[in-house]
């Protein structure tokens, strides 16, 4: 049955149904290409006559650019074009200007690795030779890379004279954002507490660490038409930015997304694409650019580092009376809102009478941060969940019971403003408590950690189009790069709604000219929003097909319903006709009015928040300070898991990124303000031998805002591991850990300090 739905009332989308395709685990449509090496990623495309371009980067953490002389480079044989910031168009919005200035420094360099000029030449080798011939005169300035140091009055100012909105008195000129959230009277709340714990925490900046470096190929003819091929989380974003930066109409630039080798938020902005386009314009030749791994670390966005103070009051029996957090984040040289998201999410798991969070963003001489999976939440929730754990320890209470007692649920006024609808936190906690992992015995030097996690999930602008082919198959076009199997889940939802088998549907990701606009693949939005638009595009096609059947039968279109992939007459007066299948209707479509298609465009809302709980057992070697993950279990509310394999994959992948953040990963800056570990050898992400299997338990508490109940699942999984691992290590080592990463020397120092 086609379920009734009301436009514009997102809360009413969901209705219960029995699924045929959704919830199964078919092989993904792009799978064979990816296991045979045929899939084309960002760096895999070439074009006839193609040039290669490389970038000259600042060796200084902070300096004024006095002059740039490119004449030497231009004179080198094989060099076809050179660009600097002079070759780009000034932007109207400060956000776009910041992004452009990050792609190519204007006036000042703000971090080690900041792009200064780019050369297109006949080979990478010649381009690199040419870079050495560019003369840049710098006036080196004092720098700051630490978040707390950046807030001191003595800190060097990055953007002299720039005014930021809504900054209270008493903050220095590097504070680019300030936010407050909360409700209730925290003083009164703390007064009611039997015990108060107040602690400060630090987390290091980490990189998304996608294995595929940024890569692009751009062309632009003298007719002013351009083409870009790029690995990106959003090709419409690339189109809009690149067109604006070189000063052309968006309609004249077509962007085609390659297969994308990981993004995790880091490919939601541009670095190379506008530069390659400007070089293509100047040279009249296709230009390819590929970052080295060192460039990925030095010049593409890591996440923020943080310094946070948390204070929580609790009664003897475990009720939280008040919570407060002060969060200071640095995200490099340009303003960002990650600290704000930290402040909004810090206490989201709790039902509190009194809560207050304050957040500052501080500008420092580091690369412009980029989103990283649930941006801002992991560090904030790490600090809060560490203090909750310590309170449980001090009061000798079960950490899951305490969380259950204080858990946010339907009707809870959230710490960031709105009241929650149906949410899955209690169910997730109960599942964790009932799981054999929670009751398993621990060995010597082992500790068990628990943490909750939360992410909002976003929806946003989405367009989907589908054609019903004459042979009874269906072609779907979506506009969001497939970063973890979304073509499979979109095909599944199309098949489900149309009532046909999964293998009759093929979904592709179209270029920017194929369908209407789409927001970037971010905020865990794709399965929710693109799924929603796919279901509605299918409903539009179904309506059309019911009309065709009605015509053939000579009855009213309203008297036709769609059941199991076929039109059927409905009601007493409709008459007796055998069902007319999608394939039958499609076969005669030319004779009944022409091609059949369905499409849907929407700025979707109602994504539905997602909670998770992680359980981890760790063993800490008291001699070396080395931590081993012995057992790990993830519990997460997926609303409805369309393809459970890929939901589990998101949960497992997020957990392991969080484990890396907790134990190893860290941007290390020297006194000179230079990044000291710009490679996978020294910036160590988790490898297979570091880990056990990651058990994933999916809960399904339907999201009222989606016809099938889907919630985004991509981001929440990275949130709990920081505190879960830290709590486990704190128990195993017998000392509270308050700084990430918990590298062996840091753990040893803490153990020694506690003796």
């Amino acid at each position: 049955m086609v379920t009734e739905y009301k436009e514009g009332a997102a809360g009413t989308e969901y209705s219960k149904r029995d699924f045929k395709v959704v919830g199964t685990r078919p092989p993904r449509p792009d799978g064979v290409d990816k296991v045979t090496g045929r899939a084309l990623f960002g760096a895999d495309l070439t074009a006839p006559g193609m040039l290669h371009a490389t970038i000259l980067r600042s060796p200084h953490a902070h300096a004024r650019i006095v002059s740039i002389d490119i004449s030497g480079a231009l004179a080198l044989d094989g060099v076809k074009a050179v660009v600097t910031s002079n070759d780009f168009v000034k932007q109207g919005s400060s956000g776009n200007q910041d992004t452009l200035d990050n792609c190519m420094a204007r006036g000042k360099v703000f971090y080690d690795g900041h792009a200064v000029a780019a050369v297109a030449a006949v080979s990478v080798k010649v381009a690199n030779e040419a870079l050495k011939l560019i003369k840049v005169e710098y006036e080196v300035l004092p720098h700051v890379t630490d978040v707390d140091a950046g807030m001191l009055d003595s800190a060097p100012v990055l953007h002299e004279g720039r005014k930021f909105r809504n900054i209270p008195e008493g903050n220095n000129a590097n504070v680019s954002g300030y936010w407050e959230f909360g409700h209730g009277d925290t003083d009164a709340g703390f007064a009611k507490a039997d015990i108060i714990v107040e602690r400060s925490f630090k987390t290091a900046a980490t990189h998304q660490g996608y294995i595929e470096p940024h890569a692009t190929l751009a062309t632009m003819g003298p007719d002013g038409r351009g083409e870009i091929w790029a690995c990106t989380q959003g090709h419409y974003m690339v189109r809009d930015m690149a067109a604006a930066f070189v000063g052309m109409d968006t309609s004249q630039l077509r962007v085609t997304p390659s297969e994308i080798g990981g993004g995790f938020g880091g490919k939601t902005t541009v670095y190379l694409e506008p530069v390659a386009l400007a070089l293509a314009k100047k040279s009249g030749r296709p230009v390819k650019m590929v970052m080295t791994r060192e460039e990925v670390f030095r010049a593409s966005g890591p996440t923020t580092s943080s310094s946070t103070d948390v204070k929580i009051g609790m009664t003897k029996d475990g009720r939280i009376t008040a919570g407060q957090a002060k969060l200071r984040y640095q995200g490099g040289a340009y303003p960002n809102i990650t600290a704000m998201l930290g402040a909004m999410t810090a206490f989201a798991a709790y039902d509190l009478d009194a809560v207050q969070t304050l957040a500052w963003n501080v500008l420092t001489n580091r690369p412009k941060q980029a989103a990283y999976r649930a941006p801002g939440a992991p560090m904030a929730i790490y600090a809060v969940e560490s203090v909750v754990d310590e309170l449980c320890q001090k009061l000798d209470l079960d950490p899951i019971d305490v969380r259950l007692m204080n858990a946010a649920k339907k009707g809870t006024l959230s710490s960031y403003g709105p009241t929650f609808d149906e949410i899955g936190l209690v169910a997730t906690l109960e599942a964790a408590k009932a799981h054999p992992h929670y009751a398993a015995p621990l060995g010597p030097n082992q500790g068990r950690g628990v943490s909750c996690g939360f992410w909002f999930n976003f929806a946003g602008n989405t367009s989907v189009s589908m054609g019903i082919n004459e042979d009874g198959t269906v072609s779907v076009i979506e506009g969001n790069p497939d970063i973890g199997g979304s073509r499979a889940s979109i095909s599944m939802m199309a098949a489900e709604e149309l009532g046909i088998p999964f293998d009759k549907v093929r979904t592709i990701v179209g270029d920017t000219n194929s369908i209407g606009f789409n927001d970037v693949t971010d905020g865990s939005r794709v399965t929710f929003s693109v799924g929603l638009a796919t279901i509605k595009a299918a409903r539009a096609a179904i309506k059309n097909m019911c009309g065709r059947a009605a015509q053939v039968w000579g009855i009213d279109a309203d008297a036709v319903d769609w059941v199991d992939g076929a039109a059927v007459p409905m009601g007493h007066n409709a008459g007796e006709f055998p069902p007319m299948t999608l394939a039958e209707i499609a076969k005669d479509s030319a004779k009944t009015g022409g091609p059949i298609a369905g499409h849907h465009e929407v700025n979707a809302d109602g994504a539905g928040v997602s909670f998770g709980v992680h359980l981890v057992d760790v063993e800490v070697d008291p001699e070396t300070g080395f931590t081993e993950i012995k057992r790990y279990t993830v519990f997460q509310d997926a609303g409805k898991a369309i393809h459970p394999d890929y939901v589990e994959g998101q949960m497992q992948g997020g957990a392991v990124q969080g484990i890396g953040w907790a134990l190893n990963e860290e941007y290390i800056y020297g006194e000179d303000g230079k990044l000291q570990n710009a490679g996978f050898l020294d910036y160590r992400i988790p490898v297979a031998s570091d880990l056990p299997m990651i058990d994933a338990v999916i809960l399904e508490i339907p999201n009222p805002g989606h016809p099938y109940g889907v919630r985004g699942v991509g981001e929440t999984g990275i949130v709990p591991p920081l505190a879960a691992v830290a709590n486990g290590v704190s128990h195993a080592a017998g000392v509270r850990m308050t700084e990430l990463p918990m590298s062996p020397p840091r753990i040893l120092a803490a153990i020694d300090g506690a003796k």
Binding site: A370, P375, Y416, P418, F458, D605
Partner: protein, 81 residues
């Protein structure tokens, strides 16, 4: 009239209030009325905000209806990964 809850740091734009009342039947009217009543909110609204109505977050939607008893929360514009 609808009651609109603001996030804490907007207090400086409303003379200390985090709950204000305006006359509006949908989100667009509400944002316009807020900017008129509290001119300092104008640039913040222009810079991008989200609105939560009865617990559901809407980004950039002008025509979402607001009932007089709806819970309305002005929220900053958010971006994910």
């Amino acid at each position: 009239m609808v009651k609109v809850n603001l996030w804490g740091s907007l207090r400086s734009a409303t003379g200390g209030l985090t709950e204000v009342e305006v006359d509006a039947k949908n989100t667009g009217e509400m944002l316009k009325a807020l900017a008129e009543k509290y001119p300092a909110l104008d640039e913040i609204i222009e810079g991008g905000v989200s609105v939560a109505i009865d617990g559901l977050i809407y980004k950039e939607a002008w025509f979402t209806p607001i009932r007089p008893d709806s819970e309305v929360v002005l929220m900053p514009y958010m971006k994910g990964g």
